[in-house]
Point group: C2
Chain length 208, copies 2
DNA sequence: TCTTGTGAACAAATTCACAGCG
DNA sequence: CGCTGTGAATTTGTTCACAAGA
């Protein structure tokens, strides 16, 4: 499948979550407008997004939940699975570990890293925590290709550099800085400060 | 200033962070291409974004850091300040409280809510935590107009409904569900699962 | 009939390119 | 000159609208 836009990948991930819920609830078929409503988008958008999939719905009945789920997962998951590493086991890092622990079978956080000796050498939220110096070794050994940066802003660029050197292909960045990485490495920013300020800004636009 | 697009508001928040750092470092002037580089965008984009501001840079020297900062802040902040409430004092909620505590003078988290009696009646990360039943009262009293949802997915819609009923104008949603709210209320989603799956997807597109 | 799949129309966002100014 | 401010061009993303199928 050639060059799926980032927005579409995001929505596919969202649809998959919903399809999983429907599947667990025993639902067999679903229409584009239903998915649209559940995911906060439009029916046309849903159908366009599924064009990146090889899966075809059937007129009148809609999409088979099971079939679509398999098809979307085929697109999103690497069949052999993927592993991620979290760097920074502070408040936020631990929350992230807890949030993801055991959720996605095909995408697990296989290691955590921190410089504080009190945190290393044991498991945090079920995930083994190593000192940063072990990063290259562990990343290669575990076949990790995604890094999650949850360090203070000052440390983030350095950590990103090391992740990239160790061979990671994508970084999920929670630190409030824009990372610079070689082209070919994907950076996805989750900027909570920006998100909060945006919310606050639009919260007071009401009625104006 | 009429209808600033969400993307632009996000970038303005980003520029402000950078301007603050420059200001603290004693830098007086900055060019659009420098800001572009520091924020991961383009010079033309930076200049377009500043058109929503009344501030004018000067040819040859660029923008005065102090002047721009004041102008951007005038756009993003409500002069009297704004207050937010966090709902859900679990792992993630506490990390959010710690992350924001005392950062923005014009935007503070004034209250937290949780249903667990072990968490209420005291301060968490310096923020007073109340039972959910107190929500309407506290929100009105504190003049809160932004809600932050950090509850499990199952509780999120109910919490959102109550926040809206209590008069909140914007919700920052960390729960992995799409909230439905009356039009006029702004919802900003921070979906960590989607973000991680996007990162993983693009991490393995390298060289392909 | 009610739905999908999709080209065409439209809208939004970004980038280009250049006039104007110190 | 080297910069900003901005209309125009372009690209990207979304929505419309309708043929085709069960």
């Amino acid at each position: 499948m050639p060059n799926i836009p980032g927005r579409t990948v995001g929505r596919l991930s969202l649809y998959r979550r919903i399809l999983n819920q429907l599947h667990e609830a025993g639902v067999q078929f679903v229409r584009s407008h239903e998915l649209a409503q559940m995911s906060g988008t439009t029916a046309a958008q849903v159908r366009k997004d599924f064009m990146y999939t090889d899966y075809a719905g059937s007129p009148r009945r809609g999409y088979s939940v099971e079939g679509l789920l398999a098809s979307v997962s085929g697109l999103l998951d690497r069949p052999e699975g993927q592993a991620a590493a979290l760097v920074g086991a502070g408040n936020l890092g631990r929350a992230i570990l807890a949030f993801f622990s055991g959720r996605r079978p095909k995408l697990r956080i296989a290691a955590a890293f921190d410089n504080d000796p009190a945190k290393t050498g044991r498991a945090i939220e079920g995930c083994p925590c190593h000192p940063l110096s072990k990063m290259p070794e562990v990343i290669v050994r575990e076949g990790i290709d995604v890094g999650i940066v949850a360090t203070p802003a000052e440390a983030a660029q350095d950590v990103a550099d090391r992740l990239v050197e160790s061979g990671v292909g994508g970084i999920l960045n929670f630190a409030p800085v824009s990372l610079s990485v070689p082209s070919g490495v994907h950076v996805e920013d989750v900027d909570m400060t920006v998100a909060l300020e945006k919310t606050a800004f639009f919260a007071r636009q009401r009625g104006k």
